[in-house]
Amino acid sequence: MNHVSRRNLLKMMGVGAGAMALGGGSLLASSSAFAARNKELNILCWEGYNSAQVLDPFRSMTGATVKAESLTNDPTMINRLRGGETSVWDLINVNNPWARKVMAPAGLIKPLPRAEFDHYFDAMLPDFKAPYKWAMSEDGKDLLGMAQRFGPFNYVVNTKKISRATAEDTGWDLFNDPALAGKYGIQESDDWNVFDIFLIAGINPFVVHTPAEMEKFQQTAIKVFKGAKMVSDVASLNQAMVAGEIDLYLTGGTYTVSPARADGYPEMRGITPLRGPVDGKGGVSWIEITSVVNNPAISPLATDFLKYVQKPDVAHTVAFAEGTFNPVTQMGNPECFKLFTKEELDIIQWDSLAEEMSRCVEYDIVPEYAAALDMITAAKRMR
């Protein structure tokens, strides 16, 4: 890598400013960047891991300064590392494909010591036993991260308006139904909307597409966005569902609907279609993988934190941290599972979780993502 990264540039500017401020004096201050970091930890994550419930016990246990920044899309987080922030962060928490397919090959993360971590997978739910595909490098040798939160992520339906059976059986064709135009919303997670538009068009999103398929994608995007009553954030969509403005929305699942279910609206439900164009499956699921960043001055607390969140009580806290509520892989451990109340299990749709996950393919990278996203943005402008 021969180019000047943004971070290096800013660093140079910072050093220059320091030199000016000190009148060309000593640059000793810059050496503090290399000081030991055994009392600090920086986490780049989806919301939940940045909550006080999760971080405060770790802070008091270690006496460390723990900073966590939450973002709500994977590409931004990956590109923060690409942009030069590997020297800032110790842990990165993103969805499954990025660790083995992008971050590890690009040298943005480093493997975990398998002797210390492999055994944690033994206590996870059956689908996540070691060697768990998405936690491993492509060659299957390195452990690249730990799995915790996961869930199916397709669409959310008000089952008082459209029954669960109808919603599951009709599948993505719900959004092809002219009768439902103006009655659905679209969640603003555009990376997931790319998957969904492909699925509504009856196309497997995770393979290389022909121009004819991309054309069909574009036409479907225009139609689906035109038919949407609103495009908005999770909170607004749940609110609109409860108020009766809309009857369903994509993209959604346990992750988005759990706050509404927790508020006393169990009729709001994440739905996974019975069938679809991905080898017969129509659902997509996500599994978060938390990896250690390839930071030249990595904090020794990074691996400690990964072990800390495996504890049954902490895993339960992670599942029900502020914001959204999600199943965790550690529910395979009876010690963890027993901490979940009946209400909590109901909020995360535990009753159908296993069958829904079995109807899902795992989140993957769309080869023509950039072109598809442009089509979605253009479709939004044509509403």
Binding site: H3, V4, S5, R6, L9, L10, M13, A17, M20, A21, N73, P75, T76, I78, N79, R82, G83, G84, G185, E188, D190, D191, K229, M230, V231, S232, D233, A235, S236, Q239, A240, A243, G244, E245, A370, L373, D374, T377, A378, K380, R381, M382, R383
Partner: protein
């Protein structure tokens, strides 16, 4: 003597100047540099291309509609605010008397609450079974018309959000119209409309223009109203910039859009400021 004053002034100002150069200009330079970087890369300062700008101006790219919406909504919002704020500003100066400060506080108070929270509040107000719909239903006059998730409600949100930014400069402008001149004009036989048109309006114009400038600059950058109230029924240009920097991860394209927006707003500002005597506005006549 004059030379000495200048150089000591510069000397004393130098810490602030350096601070401004680093803190204000450096990020701006970085954004401009990004706009000339290779598309979808982080090769800032090491690559130069006009591809990002040509992508924006490509005829197949519909991003121009976002510029049109942003500029159009900002223009309508500014005109509406000028019409709405003028009577209030007049009232604050001449009619509300001892209640004037209370009224001012009422207009300032919402600024202490986050804009997003206030906009979510309006959603509760207009949503189905919300405040308006609920009240009308209980009176048997329901259901309320559907107003959410439309460009119209986006405009409403903008007018609501930016009202104080129009009101206070306008109030200041009107307060600088000497009452003697108004009285004299009336004594000389000017009718109310004529006094307003010939005396009040021209003298208050600097304040009005500053208010319009402030609101239009802010309104061009509006995004929360279109997202929260408007349900993204329109995509504003700032939203496009946001998409470029997040989901699309095309920082150079986002930077190019940002630079174009800065140029448009900068041009607008300069055009207005060149017609404005700032000294008079600030009371140094």
């Amino acid at each position: 003597m004059a030379r000495l004053q200048v150089s000591s002034g510069l000397r004393y100002a130098s810490p602030v100047l350096i601070f401004l150069l680093l803190g204000f200009l450096a990020p701006l330079v970085t954004v401009v540099a990004y706009s000339f970087a290779s598309p979808k890369s982080f090769e800032v300062f090491t690559s130069f291309t006009l591809a990002n700008f040509s992508a924006v101006f490509d005829t197949t790219n519909s991003v121009w509609t976002s510029f049109v919406w942003s500029l159009g909504l900002a223009a309508v919002c500014t005109v509406l605010l000028a019409i709405i704020a003028y009577p209030i500003a007049y009232g604050l100066n001449h009619a509300f008397g001892r209640y004037a400060s209370l009224v001012s506080v009422l207009f300032v108070f919402p600024l202490f609450v986050s804009e997003n929270v206030r906009l979510y509040g309006w959603v509760q107000f207009f949503i189905k079974n919300g405040v308006v719909d609920g009240v009308l239903n209980s009176l048997g006059w329901g259901p309320a018309p559907e107003v959410l998730y439309s460009p119209g409600i986006t405009l409403f949100g903008m007018v609501y959000t930016y009202l104080p930014f129009m009101l206070f400069p306008m109030t200041l402008g009107l307060s600088m119209v000497p009452q003697d001149l108004v009285d004299a004009a009336a004594d000389l036989g000017g009718g109310r409309l004529m006094v307003w048109r010939e005396i009040e309006l021209p003298l208050a114009m600097p304040g009005i223009l500053i208010g319009m400038l402030l609101t239009s600059v802010l309104a061009v950058g509006a995004v929360a109203e279109a997202k929260i109230l408007g349900g993204q029924s329109v995509i504003t240009v700032v939203h496009d910039i946001e998409i470029a920097f997040t989901y699309a991860q095309d920082w150079p394209l986002g930077a190019a859009l940002a630079v174009l927006l800065v140029l448009i707003i900068g041009g607008l500002t300069l055009a207005v400021l060149s017609r404005l005597d700032l000294d008079r506005v600030l009371g140094r006549r």
